[in-house]
């Protein structure tokens, strides 16, 4: 029977692809909040048990728990093993509060499960939308993680 392992990081570990004053960043005990306009990539580096008990592990499922504000929405999730893209979920349109429990809008099963060689990266593309008069669109990342299995 396959052994299941799970590794997670807190939302404050989210890295924005480009630094600059065009994005407002706040990091709290309960997550990291980013407010801006336009589109931006965010990256999570998840600790990766490439070998457990002498067995190479496979990636079964990934998770990104988040909450959006205003017009912000997640439009793509890309999954990397070091520099190799192993899965891409494009043409997404995910918004709302998915920060508290795991649901079908914040978890993705990887089929077939790829064997992990190096380190897992989860990249999240967020389209914040155009400038609006009411407020600045935002996304809060609460946590991200992955399930791994070994034979």
């Amino acid at each position: 029977m396959a052994k299941l392992q799970a590794f997670w990081v807190h939302g404050v570990s989210a890295q924005i692809e480009r630094e600059g004053y065009f994005i407002s960043k706040r990091r709290f005990g309960f997550g990291a909040m980013f407010n801006t306009h336009g589109a931006e990539w965010f990256h999570f580096d998840v600790p990766t048990p490439v070998i457990l008990d002498g067995q190479r592990s496979s990636l079964n499922k990934i998770f990104v728990l988040y909450r959006t504000e205003g017009t912000a929405k997640i439009t793509a999730i890309h999954v990397y093993d070091a520099s190799k893209k192993i899965k891409a979920y494009d043409n997404l349109s995910l918004s709302g509060d998915h920060s508290k429990v795991i649901d079908k809008y914040n978890s993705w099963v990887i089929t077939p499960p790829p064997q992990m060689i190096f380190g897992l990266g989860i990249s999240v593309h967020v389209d914040f939308g155009k400038a609006t008069t009411g407020s600045v669109p935002g996304i809060m990342f609460v946590t991200a993680g992955a399930d791994f299995t070994t034979p």
Binding site: R18, E19, G20, Y21, F22, S24, K25, R26, N35, T36, H37, G38, K130, A131, T132, T133, G134, S135, V136
Partner: protein
């Protein structure tokens, strides 16, 4: 009305009414390095026509409504200042409340032009080497441009050339998409480019001088083009002048010949949290150089950021309409527990008129918040007075 420029006792240019010829002869020193570079490009580049035919350009285009900050160059640097006027307009059209761009580093033209020309490139302090030989004629293609109020200023020093971490961090947001392009000088081409949202840099040449201004609009009924100079708002009509269509077609206006014309293509900048401030001083003797402005975050241990004045002590302008990036430690949005603070002090150094604060607004994209202290209208200040304003 004086027809000549002269120094008054307090070293302020007394500009009541001057013609362009006198102005450029007396205060504009052509920047040979830049003009040599422009000449070189002009000789090796074909002028381009507007790529997309404008079937019916509107009868009037006024891009000056996107230009709030009227610069005062003082000495040389006209090419850079006119380019920043063009760039400010294009930024404001694409992204309202864009900070005014700065020549403080003088990257384009002066401060490290020697390295750029002789060594074929320049290192920015983040370690990147910006090579002139890899298709980047201008540093603003790769490094970008800083904004006003970011780099330290010294009243007596025009281009400090000081690199700051904040400047490096923000410059990438303000970059040119490709090399500056020469365009055909003709009234119809100017109309087409302006109608397409492209202000135009135009070189004007006298017997032994050259100058550059920015054409920002036209009126087909009056058959005139409007341009902005870089001699502050007491020059011409609040800083603006006019050429007729026929003068552009003849490439001659009085004693002034018209040289090459240029447009830029910018990478649209992204909104950054910014403050817009408007200060006016009386027509009779007022000077924006009296006003000192600092932006800060209430309760922050960091030093208040001095955002005005810029370097030019001889600036005779009376009004300041100025947009700067908020202090980097400020987290949007402003709130009762997160106040943005504007400190205003009138030094009285150049006149005793005092003035009026008409606008103090913070914006991030379309989210705009205004100073509660101005909710009942503009607030006056006297010479030697210090006042503090808050958002919200």
């Amino acid at each position: 009305m004086s027809k000549n420029l002269k120094y008054s006792s307090d070293n302020i240019y007394d500009i009541d009414s001057v013609d362009l010829e006198r102005t450029v002869q007396d205060i504009i020193v052509p920047d040979r390095v830049v003009f040599e570079e422009l000449d070189r490009i002009a000789k090796t580049t074909e002028a381009i026509s507007v790529p997309v035919a404008i079937r019916a350009p509107p009868s009037k285009v006024d891009l000056s409504k996107y230009l709030h900050y009227i610069r005062y160059q003082g000495g040389d640097g006209c090419w850079g200042y006119s380019l920043l006027a063009v760039w400010d307009i294009m930024n404001e059209m694409a992204c309202p409340y864009s900070p005014n761009l700065s020549l403080n580093l003088g990257l384009f033209i002066h401060r490290r032009r020697d390295l750029w020309e002789k060594q074929g490139g320049i290192n920015s302090p983040d370690g990147r080497f910006h090579s002139k030989n890899k298709g980047h004629k201008w540093l603003e293609l790769s490094f970008g441009c800083t904004t006003e109020g970011t780099e330290p200023t010294i009243p007596s020093v025009r281009w400090t050339g000081w690199w700051t971490k904040e400047g490096v961090n923000e410059a990438d947001n303000y970059r040119l998409k490709k090399d500056i392009q020469k365009i055909t000088v003709s009234s119809q081409q100017f109309i087409n480019w302006l109608a397409a949202g492209h202000p135009i840099q135009l070189t004007i040449v006298g017997k032994d001088w050259a100058h550059v201004i920015a054409v920002v609009g036209y009126d087909s009924v009056k058959k005139t083009f409007t341009y902005v100079n870089s001699s502050g708002d007491r020059w011409g009509k609040n800083g603006f002048g006019e050429f007729t269509f026929s003068e552009v077609d003849k490439k001659k206006s009085g004693l002034v010949n018209m040289g090459d014309a240029w447009i830029i293509h910018v990478i649209p900048s992204r909104p950054v949290p910014a403050a817009r401030i408007r200060v006016t001083t009386p027509e009779d003797g007022g000077r924006r150089m009296n006003v000192n402005l600092w932006l800060s975050v209430e309760g922050s241990p960091l030093p208040k950021r001095k955002i005005w004045p810029a370097w030019e002590w001889a600036d005779s302008s009376r009004s300041l309409h100025y947009t700067v990036r908020l202090p980097s430690e400020f987290i949007w949005p402003p709130s009762q527990n997160n106040c943005l603070v504007l400190d205003l002090h009138d030094s009285g150094a150049f006149s005793e008129t005092g003035g009026t604060l008409e606008e103090f607004t913070a914006a991030f994209g379309g989210h705009v918040m205004k100073c509660s202290g101005l909710s009942k209208g503009p607030v006056s200040f006297k010479a030697h007075e210090h006042k503090r304003f808050y958002i919200p």
